[in-house]
């Protein structure tokens, strides 16, 4: 029987896990009375679902619909003037949800708060750009990487990937080496989709290293001296170059661009 590989999470997995092993948890502490964090928790009141201190920082779980009001309270009443980071974690496989976090910093107290909320797949979150301008780029990156829509963002557009990209690279369903769209992206864009067959997967990647080619680059991972014979008796196959690069378009019999 073929080994089962889950499709909803294609990221790196340990090849062996002791079946009786239970992962411990980073200790979570209660918010101490009279501390700065207690004032923060009191200021937020019943908007907090859960709060604790993890590795010296207050973590506050809230409802996703209240993210703007919570961050506004934190900024105006608790002195958290800077949003250092904002992003998401993909929990679609387990819960069908994204976990969003906002990392805030209070400069006068030198304290940090992480506001955490969860949204369902396909739900949008309210933008916090009116409060923290740093969220402008951060939310765009989150949209680019996870496909999470942000309501009322001034310019919600892909930021790191090209504008015409398909898929969101940091999803757990997205493979590390890219999906089919990613591997044919340049060919599709320059020549058109119909040229996938003509160019072929072997010429798709101009940086591809031939198996027996030790003249220009030795085999990755099995380095050998320059020009060594590593064929082990196998017949040498000529290196095939992309026809689209070498072919003289005017002289050749094969008319590549049939659309003209």
């Amino acid at each position: 029987m073929r080994k089962y590989t889950p499709k909803d999470n294609v990221q790196g997995k340990s090849y062996y896990t002791d079946r009786f092993w239970v992962a411990p948890r980073v200790p979570r502490e209660e918010v101490e009375e009279g501390s700065h964090f207690e004032a923060v928790v009191n200021a937020l009141g019943n908007q907090i679902k859960e709060s604790y201190i993890e590795v010296g920082q207050l973590v506050v779980h809230i409802d996703a619909s209240e993210n703007f009001s919570v961050l506004k309270t934190l900024r105006d009443e608790c002195g958290y003037k800077q949003c250092s980071e904002q992003s998401a974690v993909d929990y679609l496989a387990q819960d069908g949800e994204f976990e969003l976090f906002y990392q805030l910093l209070n400069h006068t107290e030198a304290k940090r708060v992480r506001v955490v909320c969860r949204i369902k797949k396909g739900e949008a979150i309210e933008s916090v750009v009116p409060l923290f301008k740093s969220a402008n780029f951060a939310e765009r990156e989150m949209f680019d990487m996870f496909g999470i829509k942000v309501n009322n963002h001034p310019y919600l557009k892909r930021i790191i990937m090209p504008d015409d990209w398909e898929g969101h690279p940091l999803l757990k369903t997205y493979p590390l080496h890219g999906d089919e769209f990613a591997s044919w992206y340049e060919v599709d864009k320059i020549f058109g989709k119909e040229y996938r067959d003509i160019i072929g997967p072997e010429n798709r990647d101009p940086a591809k290293i031939e198996r027996y080619d030790t003249k220009r680059f030795s085999r990755v991972g099995y380095e050998v001296p320059f020009g060594a014979d590593i064929s082990e008796g196998e017949k040498e196959q000529a290196i095939e170059y992309s026809e689209t690069i070498l072919v003289n378009y005017n002289a050749g019999t094969k008319q590549l661009d049939e659309r003209k």
Binding site: V26, E54, V55, S134, F137
Partner: protein, 410 residues
């Protein structure tokens, strides 16, 4: 837009003249020598004044956060070199510290001394690089040559320690891999003297009162404190706007709580103030390095934390004791399994707040790793501070933000 990009006819994307109004759209980069890497900046100009600026990033995207989800914790460490490649050790350290906080371990004293030394050497290297490229962008060619000279000597120090000049990987999770080589401290002390001397007698003598330099930098790229906070500016960009906040002082890590150094602040909020700040920070870094030399001599020669569940035993033990070898084998083949939990650890990299957010589900692979890179947010700021400036100042402002695209695009 009359000409549409198509598959075969060339498209002059750098200029666009045919518009209804008087503005001209100009494309700056991504291969512009002053773009500090791969910054593409689309500027809308009215005459010589910038009306709209749109920073476009992503030309150096390598998916480092994605790679982190597919690598064990120790495997990923050399990848962090490629974030801010001007000061690699700061990235290695920020990542190692985040994982250490997750594991709840602390590096031994000598490792801390060495790490703090490397961090400060990297800070000076990075600041010298900033000075060199910033001066070159503005037009001071000779400063570039002088600053790179001292930077080379600093990279020689790094090479003596770890064998690499740019991609150091000089820090490990739980400590450092090597002790300092013989004679390194003397070389370090000599280099500190040299940097101090050069900062005072070459760079500052050439630039600080230079009429052209002042005309090009003063009142250029002014960022108010509120703007800086709102845009997520950190490090010299924030201190250059009059906010005295240095993570080394306020949330001390490593040995910074024991060290005596000042946090310079510039009240002018302009590029010139930031330049002065960088110069002052270099002097403070050499001051820290001088204090660390006696600390090293007093420390015990232990380099890696003792946490057999997470960190391999020293080589002697692995070679002599069976159980240490078995643990080492498991740690190398499977990778360490930190406890479940999430952690965000900020550090003061030369560019600003470099933080790693790690979400662990108890697996040998991080469930999510987010690298909070200072340059990313400083690039976002460009869309606001460039508006209203003149095209001649654009390069000055980009240089003054000191962005490095390895960590912008990740």
């Amino acid at each position: 837009m009359s000409q549409q990009p198509n598959k075969l006819t060339p498209f002059f994307e750098n200029l666009n003249f045919e518009r209804d109004d008087n503005t001209m759209v100009i494309n700056f980069g991504p291969q512009h020598p002053s773009a500090h890497g791969q910054l593409r900046l689309v500027l809308e100009l009215d005459g010589e004044q910038v009306v709209k600026a749109y920073p476009d990033i992503g030309y150096l995207h390598r998916g480092i956060e994605k790679m982190a989800e597919n690598m064990t914790y120790n495997e990923f460490l050399p990848t962090t070199d490629r974030l801010d490649y001007i000061a690699s050790t700061s990235n290695n350290y920020a990542y190692a510290l985040a994982v250490e906080k997750l594991l709840g371990i602390e590096a031994p004293r000598r490792a801390q001394v060495i790490r703090t030394m490397l961090l400060e050497v990297n800070r000076v290297i990075s600041h010298l690089f900033f000075l060199a490229t910033h001066a070159l962008d503005v037009g001071a060619m000779s400063v570039f040559l002088y600053a790179f000279r001292e930077r080379e000597f600093g990279m020689d120090l790094m090479e003596d320690y770890c064998g690499a000049r740019l991609t150091h990987s000089a820090v490990r999770i739980g400590g450092v891999p090597l002790d300092l080589p013989a004679g390194w401290l003397e070389k370090l002390a000599a280099w500190c003297d040299k940097v101090d001397h050069e900062v005072e007698h070459t760079y500052e003598a050439l630039l600080t009162e230079n009429r052209i330099w002042k005309m090009r930098l003063e009142d250029v790229g002014v960022i108010s404190a509120e703007e800086a906070l709102s845009w997520g500016c950190t490090g010299p960009m924030l201190r250059g706007s009059g906010v005295k906040y240095d993570i080394r002082k306020e949330e001390p890590y490593e040995l910074y709580s024991e060290l005596d150094f000042d946090i310079p602040v510039a009240e002018t909020c302009d590029s010139y103030g930031r330049y002065r700040l960088y110069m002052e920070e270099m002097k403070q870094s050499t001051r820290i390095l001088r204090q660390l030399i006696p600390m090293y001599k007093k420390s015990e020669p232990r380099l890696m934390a003792h946490a057999p569940q997470y960190i391999s035993a020293p080589k002697e033990e692995i070679m002599t004791q069976n159980y240490a070898l078995m643990q080492h084998f498991v740690l190398v083949t499977q990778g360490m399994r930190p406890p479940k939990g999430e952690v965000y650890v900020p550090t003061e990299s030369p560019k600003g707040e470099l933080g790693f957010y790690i979400k662990s589900e108890g697996e040998p692979y991080a469930y999510r790793l987010k690298c909070r890179a200072p340059s990313f947010f400083h690039t976002g700021l460009l869309q606001e501070i460039l508006v209203g400036t003149y095209i001649a100042d654009v390069v000055t402002i980009i240089g003054s933000t000191n962005i490095v695209f390895g960590e912008v695009d990740r």
